[in-house]
């Protein structure tokens, strides 16, 4: 029983921690988000140079062939600084969807470019009805002589305006929902960014108006969209938990530091019990959220290696628990910071917005709680 990362995993975390300490000093990610809603190309290329986009991708497809725990080392550090940019969309959503849903040929075609960072991918999960899984997908894929013609509207798409490849679920003529890889320049594809609460992770809207998709861009088997994406979303939910843990650790540090130096009534406010107890709760939540996220990352790691048994239940448990702890803690942190917490130039609001953004991604609390109770009461 060892919850700590091993030496190699720790090395990845240390190197990521150092990388962001250098490239993203405090306030830097806020500037990036304000400037472009994403990370600069230079930063993206540096991360690519470290091989991070290839962490979970098998070596035969140009990646490093590492596991989910290694991926979580990097994600945690990104969450700590609230990094903008398409890493999550490209590696977690795009990469895993291709890995899980693609044929060998499709993996050979697309994964190496994702792994080296030259291609950014995403998955268009939502439509106007607010479902994140394509059980009833209004986007249609009509058969044509040499492929498909896709028409419909996708909403709340991560990295929509940056992605080179967009995986879109669409319903075929026979009613089955399949996944299609749409390339960025395809005629008939229009994309726009939606003004988004979480400025570090802007969402987009895609309009597909008779977008021609060649036959070989239909991912894997016809009708596989729901099964593939529900599995991808379990991994994605766990990835969010890992990000949240990093964010929460930073929020704890900021808050403890602030209440130690802020003086009112002649004493640091951290000496008052009203503030102490908020900080104690912040610590308790950070430690329990960390346990949930790390455990879930371990389960996800095993699932990537073929043992799926606990994936869905653990993803749901961790998602609900982590997002509750994250949101409540950031709210308390803002309260403890007083006026400073409400100030744009102080970075705390980024974490509040992250927390609210995360709550609705890949299933909200109600969705995941229902899944937990369906999975039964006796587990261990």
């Amino acid at each position: 029983m060892d919850f700590d990362p091993d030496v190699d995993q720790q090395m990845i975390r240390d190197s990521a921690g150092k990388f962001f300490a250098d490239c993203c000093p405090r306030g830097e990610t806020l500037k990036m988000a304000e400037a472009a809603g994403t990370c600069p190309d230079e930063l993206w290329n540096s991360m690519a140079g470290l091989g991070w986009m290839g962490i979970p991708i098998p070596e035969e497809y140009g990646g490093l062939g590492l596991g989910f725990i290694e991926l979580s080392m990097v994600l945690g550090e990104m969450g700590r600084v609230c990094l903008p940019g398409p890493y999550f969309a490209s590696v977690v959503l795009g990469g895993l969807t291709l890995m899980i849903g693609g044929t060998d040929g499709q993996k050979r075609r697309w994964l190496p470019a994702i792994a080296d960072g030259s291609c950014k991918a995403t998955v268009a999960l939502y439509e106007a009805d607010g479902r994140f899984l394509p059980e009833r997908c209004a986007t249609r894929a009509q058969r044509t002589a040499d492929g498909y013609s896709l028409s419909g509207t996708k909403l709340f798409v991560l990295a929509a305006d940056e992605a080179d490849l967009i995986v879109c679920p669409a319903t075929e003529d026979d009613g089955r929902t399949s996944l299609f890889v749409v390339e960025a320049g395809a005629p008939g594809l229009a994309r726009k960014r939606l003004p988004t609460l979480d400025i570090t992770r802007p969402l987009g809207e895609l309009t597909l108006d008779g977008v021609v998709v060649p036959h070989e861009n239909r991912l894997g088997e016809p009708g596989s969209a729901n099964a593939v994406l529900s599995r991808v979303c379990d991994f994605a939910a766990i990835a969010l938990c890992v990000e949240m843990t990093g964010g929460l650790q930073h929020v704890r540090e900021l808050t403890v530091e602030y209440v130690k130096q802020r003086v009112q009534f002649g004493k640091p406010i951290g000496s008052y019990q009203a503030i102490k107890h908020k900080c104690a709760d912040l610590h308790m939540r950070t430690e329990t959220v960390d346990a949930a996220a790390r455990y879930a990352a371990w389960v996800a790691d095993r699932a990537l290696k073929g043992d799926d048994a606990a994936l869905a239940r653990t993803a749901s448990v961790a998602k609900v628990f982590c997002q509750q702890g994250f949101y409540r803690s950031v709210s308390d942190a803002i309260q403890a910071h007083g006026g400073m917490g409400f100030t744009w130039e102080y970075e705390l609001h980024l974490y509040l917005k992250r927390a609210k953004g995360v709550e609705v991604m890949f299933g909200d609390e109600a969705f995941h709680r229902e899944r937990v109770i369906e999975s039964g009461g006796r587990k261990s």
């Binding site: 029983m1 060892d2 919850f3 700590d4 990362p5 091993d6 995993q9 725990i69 403890v256 209440v259 130690k260 004493k267 640091p268 951290g270 000496s271 019990q273 503030i275 102490k276 107890h277 900080c279 104690a280 709760d281 610590h283 308790m284 430690e287 329990t288 960390d290 346990a291 949930a292 790390r294 455990y295 879930a296 371990w298 239940r313 653990t314 749901s316 448990v317 961790a318 609900v320 628990f321 109600a366 709680r369 229902e370 937990v372 109770i373 009461g377 006796r378 587990k379 261990s380």
Partner: protein, 391 residues
């Protein structure tokens, strides 16, 4: 990072499970009695049975009568006991707190004298810590022990002492030097409960049990050899005891709570409110699922803590352990009561759900955020000792 159990840990689990299957606690139906006296008597018989098979104090070193298993295996043991529906040992205070403390701070003759009786359950121990004027501020305690020749002479009053009326020994925290700063002049004594001058007054608790007591000491004479640890250095021993209590209970409790949740699901299927079962009500389903989530996370968190403790030892983080599980348990018990609808009002008999045990558990959970340091004290400890906030 590897969260799987080793083959030898698995084998240990199988061994515990097999013994509990062959020796179910149902042989002692009185363990579930509503009457505390009957329950304690059955508890002694049950502890004796487990002790004879070597299952008491599994985490204690072998030389002191334990099994010397690792912390992970100790947790496995508690998980299996809970899974089998076996009760907590009647001498839980002795096993979880006094034993480890005597092993660390006791003199060799004290270990030889006390440890066997703690394991067998022949000697039940109670704690004499809180006083009417010293609760959260335990270090303000006033019960005095004055050296008189080769004896201590004890006078004062203790309160909230669990199982005191069934105990043969009391772990008593006293002031031995009122001149020293308050944390310094405190010592710990092992006091036989049948010593002349001790008066025991059982107090009726919130659920009707008379488990805790008020103790009065009037010039109670014990030999100097009753001292545990060094004279005037008892505060250190008290803190170690509290860390043990806070952590052991938290980490071993997850399966107990899992059983509650399973019971909640059963009740949600059976008990009717407004003409339908809770399991058919979307809001109730959500509440039960929330409890399941929080209990699962206690399991993950316990695994993380086992690793931490094995590497870094116990410490102030024990406050986090206690704070999390006790507050979570109270939320869980609220949910359990709401599921029962009007049946939540019937405390025993055939119209009661599960013979009223959910109601008892609900009421009992109110103690969890008070004993061994209130939640407020745990938060102060976390803020001061872990986060380093100014006092």
């Amino acid at each position: 990072m590897d969260l799987s159990f080793t083959p030898s840990e698995q084998a240990f689990r199988e061994e515990v499970r097999a013994w509990l299957a062959a020796n179910p606690s149902s042989v002692e139906p009185d363990l579930a009695s509503h009457d505390l006296e009957t329950r304690v008597a059955a508890g002694r018989r049950w502890q004796r049975r487990m002790h004879d098979a070597g299952w008491v104090g599994v985490g204690w070193p072998k030389e002191h009568g334990g099994r010397g298993v690792s912390l992970t295996e100790e947790i496995i043991f508690h998980q299996e006991v809970a899974r089998a529906g076996a009760p907590e040992l009647v001498n839980v205070v002795g096993i979880n707190m006094l034993g480890p403390l005597l092993i660390e701070y006791g003199r060799p003759e004290q270990k030889a004298r006390f440890l066997p009786g703690i394991l067998s359950g022949d000697d039940i121990w109670c704690l004499g810590m809180s006083e009417p004027g010293a609760g959260s501020d335990l270090a303000s305690l006033k019960t005095r022990a004055v050296l008189d020749g080769d004896d201590f002479l004890i006078s004062g009053e203790k309160i909230w002492s669990s199982y005191a009326s069934y105990s043969s020994w009391c772990f008593l925290v006293v002031r031995t030097d009122p001149e020293l700063p308050r944390h310094r002049g405190i010592s710990c004594l092992a006091v036989p409960m049948n010593t002349p001058g001790i008066q025991i007054r059982p107090l009726v608790q919130i659920h009707g049990d008379k488990e805790f007591c008020q103790l009065f000491f009037d010039e109670v004479r014990v030999p100097k050899s009753a001292l545990i640890g060094e004279l005037n250095r008892g505060w250190e021993v008290v803190l170690a005891t509290l860390h043990h209590e806070r952590t052991t209970y938290a980490l071993s409790h997850q399966v107990v709570l899992q059983q509650y949740v399973a019971g909640m699901l059963d009740a949600a299927r059976e008990a009717q409110r407004q003409g339908r079962s809770g399991i058919d009500d979307p809001l109730t389903r959500q509440k039960i699922a929330q409890a399941m989530i929080e209990v699962d996370v206690l399991g993950y968190y316990s695994m993380k803590r086992i690793g931490d403790i094995q590497k870094r030892g116990l410490g102030a983080e024990s406050s986090v352990d206690k704070l999390y599980w006790t507050e979570m348990n109270q939320r869980l018990q609220d949910t359990a009561m709401s599921i029962l609808g009007p049946y939540s009002q019937v405390t025993s008999g055939e119209r009661a759900v599960a013979d009223g045990r959910p109601i008892h558990a609900f009421l009992h959970s109110k103690a969890d955020t008070i004993y061994s340091g209130t939640s407020e004290i745990q938060r102060n400890t976390i803020a001061d000792l872990i986060l380093g906030l100014p006092r």
